[in-house]
Each structure stands twice: as structure tokens, then as C-alpha cells.
Symmetry: C2
Subunit: 248 residues, 2 copies
């Protein structure tokens, strides 16, 4: 890469402003405090509104600021550590899992990536369980959990279940299966309208999308697409013995 410590980086104006603003946040503002309006801030720092807005966007990406409808821009509290692997080798819905089932339906409309991971045939129906996760009284994540219908034939022969009972039945059926392993990816995404509502954000807000595939007897039987608020969450991945320190 040929980079040495002596090279100086060309810093755009908004980047320098961001550093100055960040210092001001440390020294002059408390968590939750509402920032002055953009016009006043731009005047105070002697910059154009467009430059100011870019700097505010950076600080929002870094979790220093929150923009809320009807409130304005406030100083954000530190991000909360949210454990993504509370225990390896457990199915969703296992004891100690802090997700709440919301409902479940049957659907054959799978996102392409999910259909590929589950290796379903076109038109094949699966269970779709929606779950939500709350930490420190705040919604932190919304999940769409796709489960192969043949892996969890929950309620197929039973009397019709309401959608919450169906969610519990599907999750219960999973616990009966052998779990070979799970793997996951984390990527940046933007909140779908429904997730945004569940997470109390605007549609399109940056989110961290965690896709987990659960494998049983050599084939994928469930895929969870979990959408975490990127503004308030740090995802933590830990081995048991060291987890508490970094998560705190």
C-alpha cells in the first residue's frame, strides 16, 4: 500500500469540521442535549450549511448524534453492546434467547438470497417467523426467520393456530432437531419500511444486517435475517470467558 506515517491526507472541509464538532460535543454538551439549529451552528463554525450537514451526517454514522423527527439533533448516548452469539450451537428460540416472537405466516415469497441459502425450489412455501429484540427498553433489532416447512411441520395437522401460537410452534419444532452448526454474515443495509417502524427509525436508515444460516444433518433448515439499529448498537461476538468485559 506504500503508506508512511509522514504522508499527509487531503482532508475535506466537512471532515475537519467533524473533528471540531466532535470535540465540542465532548466538552460542551451532555448526552440527550439538543443541538442548536443548523443555521446557528453553521454561523458559529463559519461554514456553509451544506458542509455542516455533511459533518453532522458523519457524526450520525459514528453514533455520536441522533436525528429524531420532531425533536431535532441530539447528542447520542454510547452505543449498547448487543451479543449476537449469546450461545453457539443453539436454535433460535432456545432457552436464554432474548428475542420475542411477534407472529408467523406461511409464505412462498422468499428474497433471492434467502432462497439460495435455504436451497428451496421456486414456489416452495416456508414458515416465516417474525421476532423482535429489546435491550434496555429500546427496540434494537427486528428479525425475519425463514424455516423450511418440512423441517418444522408445526401445526400442519393441528387445529388452525393464531399467528403467535404458530410462531411458538415453529420455534418449538426447531429445538427437536440436531444442530450441526451455524454461520453468519454481517453487512450494511438500509431499513425496510416495516423494520424501520419496528425499530422506531425512518425507512432507509442505516442498519446492520446479520444473516444466520442454521444447518441440521448437512442441510440448511433455517435462515434468520436480523436487522439491528446501526445508530445505537455495537454487535458483540465473544467467547464465553471473555465476553462480559468487552460487552460492558
Amino acid at each position: 500500500m506504500g503508506i508512511t506515517q509522514l504522508e499527509t491526507a487531503p482532508e475535506p472541509k466537512y471532515w475537519h469540521l467533524k473533528t471540531v464538532l466532535s470535540d465540542a460535543l465532548d466538552k460542551e454538551f451532555a448526552v440527550g442535549e439538543i443541538l442548536p439549529n443548523e443555521r446557528d451552528l453553521a454561523a458559529r463554525f463559519g461554514v456553509a450549511r451544506a458542509t455542516l450537514r455533511q459533518a453532522l451526517e458523519q457524526l450520525e454514522l459514528e453514533g455520536r448524534l441522533q436525528r429524531r423527527r420532531g425533536v431535532g439533533t441530539t447528542v447520542a448516548p454510547p452505543r449498547v453492546g448487543v451479543a449476537v452469539e449469546p450461545a453457539r450451537h443453539t436454535w433460535p428460540g432456545a432457552a436464554g434467547d432474548d428475542w420475542q416472537p411477534v407472529d408467523a405466516i406461511e409464505t412462498d415469497e422468499l428474497p433471492t438470497a434467502v432462497a439460495r441459502l435455504l436451497e428451496t425450489a421456486p414456489g416452495e412455501a416456508v414458515h416465516l417467523v417474525r421476532r423482535s429484540r429489546v435491550s434496555a427498553q429500546q427496540p434494537v433489532a427486528a428479525e425475519l426467520l425463514y424455516v423450511r416447512a418440512d423441517a418444522a411441520p408445526a401445526g400442519a395437522d393441528a387445529p388452525p393456530l393464531d399467528s403467535v401460537a404458530r410462531a411458538h410452534a415453529v420455534l418449538g419444532a426447531l429445538q427437536e432437531l440436531d444442530l450441526d452448526g451455524q454461520d453468519r454474515t454481517v453487512e450494511l443495509g438500509s431499513a425496510r419500511a416495516e423494520d424501520a417502524r419496528q425499530l422506531d427509525r425512518l425507512p432507509g436508515a442505516p442498519v446492520l444486517v446479520v444473516t444466520t444460516r442454521y444447518v441440521s444433518r448437512g442441510r440448511a433448515v433455517a435462515v434468520a435475517v436480523s436487522t439491528y439499529r446501526a445508530d445505537t448498537c455495537r454487535l458483540t461476538f465473544g467467547e464465553r470467558e471473555t465476553e462480559p468485559l468487552l460487552a460492558s
Copy 2:
């Protein structure tokens, strides 16, 4: 959360446009193709330029589009899976590690979060090793690896080393220590000017920041802050047996 499948979400205009644009990308454009300019696109879809720009930003967050200086907006290739845990229980710089050391210095300027994780005293100097990671000929990540000076007394008594040799010496010294475990967090961030240059992005571009703490004999001896391009990378976390499928 009290959400049912019947509730309809209020969809802002840019969100609807994003869906329409996304379909158009699937059907009419090839990977790498340059999109028409904003004025023409806004006219074609009958929307204001501001609405168009918001929709383009969403698609960029989702990794569908790339904006490049001097080129314009192009259709992005699918994100590349980058393994964050190629092997658990190894130190940075272990065999099979695909990071390249760039240089190393001694510094006592630690970010607050790093000083807290390493439990260093104010003013205490540490090794700072810079590394970079390339995948499919593209830079995907830049890393700042902080190592306690007493954990890796590399080069302290030896003749002065150049900074690349020092990086290798520090990494080599780590391999001699017992590794109790490692834990990590993943969060959204914005690229610092130096990282941006190394990653071929603009300062402030969204990045995924992976912070890994390495623990030896009950105390933290190294902290790596790895900055991954959020536009081109999916971070993969896998157990060995299932990894190849999801990473593909």
C-alpha cells in the same frame, strides 16, 4: 411490538422510488455499467432531484450502487464475503492470516476506547502496527493493531529496525504468547482520512469497524481496530465446517 401483518407502512417517496430503481437495475443494467446522470434519471422517473438522490443513497447503502470520483454512479458487483474469523484462537500475524503488515511505530496516543480495552495507564506507550487486507485485488480493510509494549518487547534491545521490520518483530513476539481468547464488536463507522485513502474511498464513507481484543493470561495484550469497506464487503463469521457455503 404489537405489529401485525395487516398494518401498512407509510412509505416515503424516495423509498418507493428505490424499489422501482432496484427493479430497473436488475432488468436493464449490467454490473459495472454507468447510470445516466441525475437529471436524466429524475426526468425518467418523474421525481425531484432531491428524491432521486435519497433513493440513490439507499441503494449505495445496500451495496447496489457505487459512486466513484470521476466515473459517476455504477452498478456494483455483489458484495464479497470476507472471513473475520478465519481461525479462532490465533494471534494476528499467525500463519494463514491474510493481512499484510504496512509499518509499526511506538505511540502513546491511544483512542479512549482502545486505552480502556487495553487498560493502559495515561501516557503509556504501545506498539501500533498498521496492516492492510486485500481480497480479489481490491483493498477491503485497513487495521490499526495496538499491542502492549511489555507483551511484545520487540526490538527494544536490538539495533533500530525500520518500520516494516518492526511490524514483523511485534507480530512475531505475539505468536510466542498464550492466547486465552478473543472477543470482538462490529459497528458502523465513517472512514478516517487515512483509512479512506488506503481503502480507495472518500473520508467519511460508511465502513464496518471490527474491534478485536486479544487476551493472554487473563489480561488484554492487543486490540485491533479493523476498518472494512461497507460498500463491497459482507463480513462472514463461520464455524469451519459450514463456512465455505455461506462465504461463496
